[in-house]
Symmetry: C2
Subunit: 663 residues, 2 copies
């Protein structure tokens, strides 16, 4: 057995015995200390800086003990990220291996905040015809003449007589409770039936309540909508960070984790199943207090995710979808016994996994598809689902195409110097005065807009929608030009050169922040966003070309991020081909809506299967025109010329903001 | 937590810490010491006598330690069984609670021997069409154009093209191995398909071997027949005592155990599943050395048992089949995922449970039914399956009836003074000289017949077939009359009065035995056998009456016990209505044969379902004629008058015996 060493994390005060050779980042994960690690241990994001306070680094650690710090040599990877101004004894948690007892301080900047979940459920208008229904059945008590008929057969006979339902079968585990339930209910019992085919629960007497859970597992955020299958209403919502984040911020880094760690797939699967069980317990316990365990009242579950999350969740090796020819293990929808996955709902129930469209275009995009139904529309609509990956649907009732864009994680704040998740302290909205270049901004967790004259507001970084905003505003204020290059000599001290001589824009002064550093937007940040928006724009443009579309009738922005993006900023930056701003619609978490619809109406499941095969997948990255389009798409267009009404709209939009600042 | 005490069992030398308040019998079970306990802890059989060698019995055992024996008071139950001649310090293990450290001696008579399993497999003649088949499939390696098709879909397409098999589904757990198997086999893999419907295993490359296991769970004995589904041959057989025996020797005592112990059902289910897994491991390991675990090569499993064993095995509450109106939880056949039961064969495989006919007439009798096929015969046949319970089938192609007889456990040696299971040391065959009343007998484990002039042969007791034999012989030799009463004054010292003044017959003198006691047949033993055979006879007779049969064309004796019963003795005693001795056929383990047939040909499963419903269950015990018939059936008929040829046949039968005695 490997040696273990004592590791203490401050200021959290967490401590524990860590196996020799583990990294500090792994130690932090093991001890439940949240350290920001956007790149997923690949030593490239430089977010996981920690300060070694005490430690002992002898190779031969037979006499390891708390002692004074021995000299540390930074690795080559660390030298790229750790600057003199970071102060002494700073290292990357992912680069330090535990070789002796350690006391470590995690600076606030490196602490991962709790994500603000922005996946609220909107009202859906859909006919109620769930896959799971409850039937109450009364039997005559058996006599000696019934010895050749089991309880099973007598229930089936009653179903046929009372409801005309034939050929039902009992789930084996449910059968185990049949005898006692029939007798406890004095020969009346309620049966939960799945797809008019299988009895998945039996309860004594008459039971009405029938719940389903629609689940959306995002790369970053997971949400569960507890739904009353009798009314179709969402009665509670619960969300969490995807507990796989410590194993990689994006899809590719998780696939890498599964490839490089023998137990990697299982570790990540266990994490997400445990996380989902946690959601189930919370979402139910708040509204319902019955049954052998909280999740027992949940009789059905539908789930969407991208292809990689799908594979990892189900325990399918994700390696083959990470490399050419990107073949998924399974395309079709699946019904899997909850107990086979260890999901703690009613043990006889199935979870319904929506189908994959193609390669990376996963069940989540099928959810968007059946929620938005472009195939039922005359309008040519472009639907952009921006999660950690960007997925596009384009078309109308004649035909619909899909593709997946490698936008990179910039939209979610990764690879951005002061980027962070949508957590308290994140700057989420920005306005910049074109004359003075002075910004106003709004921080998550505070209701009011802020200017630097208001003093300290504990800003910590910039989240995805804040980055779109600030860069669009920098462009409009003339801080950067349409190629993304900084315009120097603006006369404002906000635009300056950093220690390396590279231009940056100061969004918040150190004294407004909780990290005591200026929060800035660097040239590299502008470039990262240009790459991301360029990929989206190019994807949409090439799809239009392939489909022979000259113009779009509507753009729908979906996803946790899509719900909070500023429409005008997205137009300013040119994230998608031109449409009038009034034709840009924010539709919320459409993937989750699709999961909810599949829960409420079983015809939606068939529709998902059929439409997932009907949609044409377009491979964009290999298109010969890609590179040229992409280079052009990096530019920031001048929207004002194209939308004469924009100025007036913007003024209207800004009026309440101005009021809030004054107030 | 309860106090624990040290308990040592001699001569086995097993020792361990036992929780205060457990009985010595439970302690013995816990420590793996076999103590005969036919009545299943009910303090009525008196078989579990042990001698307390050292012990300490203070109620307040704070200072419990090995010390001299404190005075012990026998319980009322024990006083019925423990006689002065048993010697000092003898108690019933089921009546003594552990209240301090103990050293216990288990006399040989109380030790349970290893059952001799007599359920060998005979050759079956049946067309091969198993429910489980293997198919080897080759795929073209995927390209970028296949991104919309998962591995799953490509396999199904190949199945359709190569084998015309449509609409297959993958077992979810099997799907988890698909990707790696396809790539490991360079796009060739072998798929195991259940009922042309579900893929239950995937292996890289081409695999031929396909095994099935037919299982017969008896109340006392369990056996598994490992079968090559390609050839239909049994390639190995493994058997064991039913590990539920410590919880009760017969069906009713196990039901009682389930009723009276909160975890009783689970304890017994766990025991039999663990036992079956043990059989699986042994039966496979001896002939096959592949796969992730031994049972992995077993792709299908069929199983028969009586209704109570069926319920306990599946975890269904057996209480309701133990009380009026005797309703089983389920009548139909079932296919249950092996993994849902924790059975360690291929995890994707199903076990096929044959259907129940009615009440106590369980899947084992359905096995007999489809193996013997009375419904395809012109002859009116009576099939007697004697396990721990007696089950009867009667009829021909016009109609077949079934019933269950409460024979009691006498046929298996329980409730018989020197009764024991068919284990080494058991007297299994007996002849008595009508003149001298001197017996010859054969002991299991010895090849030759024995007379008392041969000296010590270590006889220990009498097993089922020995009891039939000795009582039939006692009748023929005039030791008992046709009412079962002892005839005294025969002039032989073998017929004598016991200490209570009751008559008994000495079958073996103390010096021939390993227990240093005379092995005797008591008046009560004769009565117990008369009751058992009377029940069988009455059942058959009343069935004949209800079906309007005057005579039988054939009697088939089935079951572990039925295979070893002496046909002539059974006729002598009148275990069933008269037929010529040449029309009595011993058919072996027909229940097991039925399980094997269901394994080899899936049409047999449909046949089982249809015939189980077609057979008419007759309730005999409630028939008004029962009591009168039963009283008459207790008598022992005089066969010789009815079968003039019998004497000659007997002489022929005895010739080899006589030869073996001389030799």
């Amino acid at each position: 057995m490997a040696n273990k060493h004592k590791v203490i994390f401050q200021p959290a005060g967490r401590r524990g015995e860590i196996e020799e050779g583990k990294t500090l980042l792994e130690a932090a994960q093991q001890l439940g200390v949240d350290i920001e690690a956007l790149c997923g241990n690949k030593k490239v994001c430089g977010k996981c800086k920690v300060r070694i306070e005490e430690g002992y680094f002898e190779k031969d650690n037979l006499e390891s003990k708390m002692s004074h710090l021995s000299p540390m040599e930074l690795t080559k990877d660390e030298l790229k990220h750790i600057k003199h101004e970071d102060g002494p004894n700073i290292r990357l948690a992912c680069a330090v291996e535990v070789r002796g007892d350690l006391k470590v301080f995690v600076p606030e900047r490196s602490r991962a905040g709790k994500q603000v979940v922005r996946k609220a459920a909107k009202e859906l208008s859909i006919a109620l015809d769930p896959a799971v229904k409850k039937y109450t059945v009364s039997l005559t008590p058996p006599t000696l003449h019934d010895m050749t008929t089991g309880d099973y057969e007598r229930v089936l006979k009653a179903f046929e007589e009372e409801y005309g339902l034939k050929g039902l079968v009992f789930d084996y585990k449910v059968l185990l409770g049949l005898q006692d339930a029939l007798r406890a209910g004095e020969w009346m019992a309620t049966f939960t039936v799945w797809n008019d085919r299988e009895i998945i629960k039996v309860e004594p007497g008459s039971v009405q309540v029938c719940y389903g859970l629609a689940v959306d597992i995002g790369t970053t955020t997971c949400v569960g909508y507890l739904t009353d299958l009798g009314t179709g209403k969402v009665i509670n919502t619960e969300s969490m960070m995807n507990p796989q984040v410590p194993y990689g911020e994006d899809v590719m880094s998780r696939i890498t984790y599964a490839m490089t760690n023998p137990e990697g797939l299982k570790t990540m699967q266990d994490a997400i199943i445990a996380g989902l069980n946690n959601i189930i317990e919370k979402v139910v316990t708040e509204v319902h207090k019955n049954g052998p365990h909280p999740g027992y009242v949940v009789d059905d579950l539908t789930i969407v995710f991208n292809t990689a999350m799908h594979h990892i969740f189900l325990g399918l090796n994700p390696v083959y979808i990470g490399r050419s020819p990107f073949i998924p293990a399974v395309q079709r929808s699946m019904d899997i016994k909850a107990r086979d996955l260890g999901i703690k709902i009613n043990p006889g129930s199935y979870i319904h996994v929506l189908p994959i469209e193609a390669g990376f275009v996963g069940p989540d995009n099928v959810g968007v598809l059946i929620a938005q139904e472009p195939y039922n529309q005359n309008d040519k609509v472009l639907i952009i689902d921006i999660g950690t990956n960007g997925e596009l649907l384009l078309g109308n009732k004649s035909n619909v195409s899909s593709t997946s864009c490698a936008t990179g994680p910039a939209f979610e704040g990764a690879q951005i110097k002061f980027g962070m998740r949508a957590a308290p302290g994140a700057i989420e909205k920005v306005k910049i005065d074109p004359e003075t270049k002075e910004p106003q901004y709004k921080v998550i967790g505070k209701d009011d807009w802020h200017t630097n004259i208001d003093g300290k507001i504990n800003a910590k970084g910039i989240c995805g929608s804040g980055i779109i905003d600030v860069i669009a505003e920098m462009f409009k204020a003339g801080v950067i030009d349409k190629t993304g290059k900084f315009v120097m000599n603006t006369g404002s001290n906000r635009v300056r050169l950093d220690v390396d001589g590279k231009p940056e824009y100061v969004l918040a002064w150190a004294d407004e922040t909780s990290i005591n550093q200026d929060v800035t937007v660097a040239q590299a940040d502008v470039r990262a966003l240009q790459l991301a928006k360029g990929a989206l724009y190019t994807g949409a443009k090439l799809m239009m070309k392939k489909m022979g579309y000259e113009t779009l009738d509507r753009v729908e922005l979906a996803g946790a991020f899509g719900s909070h993006i500023d429409r005008e900023a997205s137009l300013t930056l040119g994230m998608f081909p031109d449409v009038p701003i009034e034709k840009v619609v924010v539709v919320g978490n459409a993937a989750g809506d699709g999961a909810r619809m599949a829960l409420l109406n079983k015809a939606k499941r068939t529709e998902a299967t059929e439409r997932a095969r009907w949609v044409q997948f377009l491979e964009i990255a290999t298109d010969p025109a890609f590179e040229k389009e992409f280079m052009q798409a990096m530019h920031i267009p001048h929207m004002k010329d194209k939308f004469p009404n924009l100025k007036k709209m913007l003024e209207e939009q800004n009026a309440p903001i101005a009021a809030s600042i004054k107030g």
